[in-house]
Symmetry: C2
Subunit: 267 residues, 2 copies
């Protein structure tokens, strides 16, 4: 763990399960802060805003500033901001995540945008909205996908996620979406940029061997697998991914932590 | 042309252009009938019913029986009919082509169908209709695509065709659609079956070097290219496809035709 100055930390399964803190997680967060490590909480949640996520975390005892939470909508905004002069966007997104884009993607005619951002859009998917997105793309806009999952389990049964509609727009236009969620390299790179750190200075802590560990290792980060959340020994064995470290839970991270006096946390 | 007992004939560009007969086409049709050749008119039209197509042809002077017109909806029905006991279907199709399916695909709950049939569905595409199709497929239904074009030019601009939504459902389910339009082998095979002829007994006459000629040759038929409709010399040269015969127009087919006394036309 020499040279590690910051952490990307998965939320669900690493910091909490259901509505309960993983024992020791709150204390570990306090230690990380005290020792001056940089960190971002990375989640693939595309429907919730950072505010909603932070409020939920607070109820579990985590005092996590909104601006240390890094989600696909935030990554999408970071991606757009890097392209100076190009920030007109249209949205195929639902849920309160839409509020993240309030200052960026509203009131622009579909024909005239630089980016089409598609997430799990639910009822907002219509022929008209898909066609508007298609025309924007044919007019030169870039396609940003907050995720490309196939489906998810809704209350009334399996339901289409963003992936199928991303594929539809890719097929129609011949373009390839930039995916700004784990495990895409673009997502991890944007999170690192926000912290101002290089991949070799950062460790990713997660419970998903492929999305969290495989993905971060491919970007050049250190991958630390926790044995909480969705961790399963047999999935680890079958994965072909070799974590740099495996710890029982995030509470055990402390044994490696050195103070980093030169670095202030930079949320 | 020895051994040829029947023809598949493209309509647009071969029999007519715009609203006008290709000179000699009506007469050639009379000769085909008189000499006892079997034939089917094959078109990739997915929005129009055979009745509508036949009525339009009649205005141009063609007396073509409805049941010699073979379109993707008709091919879809033929495909389903081959699977005995499996004919419950749901539709994502618009236009009066829907009427072709009237006796087959109505009033069935989406969860309980054997086939999902998707064509150019326009406004019928919603999250709900796509999700219903998705759930049918996950419950074991087979996906039949009337076409998989990317887009078409509508009055108000480029508009999504069926292809993108076929891709969406394939991505979501991991299934592959059976495409029942030219140049798919399934489409040609179903047309041949309807005529009761083998590929080597049939010639396809068309103006599209890849869809009509390449496609039919791959099925084992004779491919006859006409120099009418969308025919372009440079497209032919670039195509890499070698038609078995090239004729100036369908009017020139007569020179090869022998009477086939053993065979009645079997529309």
């Amino acid at each position: 763990m020499n040279g590690i100055k910051g952490f990307l930390i998965d939320l669900d399964g690493v910091m909490y399960i259901g509505d309960r803190e993983i024992p020791g997680a709150v204390e570990m967060l306090r230690i990380l802060n005290k020792k001056g490590y940089a960190f971002r909480f990375v989640s693939n949640t595309t429907r919730k805003s950072r505010r909603t996520i932070a409020e939920r975390l607070l109820k579990m005892g985590f005092e996590i500033p909104e601006n240390t939470i890094f989600t696909p909508p935030i990554a999408a905004i970071a991606y757009m901001m890097k392209k100076r002069g190009k920030n007109r966007c249209s949205l195929l997104v639902t849920g309160d995540a839409v509020s993240e884009f309030e200052d960026v993607c509203t009131g622009q005619p579909a024909e005239d945008v630089d980016f089409v951002i598609i997430g799990d859009a639910g009822e907002k998917i219509t022929y008209e909205s898909m066609n508007a997105a298609f025309r924007s793309l044919m007019n030169g806009a870039e396609l940003i996908a907050l995720e490309r999952d196939r489906y998810w389990m809704a209350a009334d049964g399996l339901s289409l996620s963003a992936g199928p509609f991303v594929s539809a727009l890719e097929y129609a236009t011949g373009k390839t979406a930039v995916v700004v969620g784990k495990p895409s390299k673009d997502f991890f790179a944007l999170a690192l940029e926000e912290m101002g750190l290089e991949p070799e200075e950062v460790a990713m802590i997660g419970d998903d061997i492929s999305t969290d560990i495989g993905g971060s290792q491919e970007t050049g980060m250190t991958g630390i697998l926790v044995r909480t959340g969705k961790f399963r020994e047999e999935v680890l064995e079958r994965s072909g991914v070799k974590p740099d470290h495996i710890i029982d839970s995030i509470a055990d991270l402390g044994i490696w932590l050195l103070p980093i006096p030169s670095l202030q946390n930079r949320p």
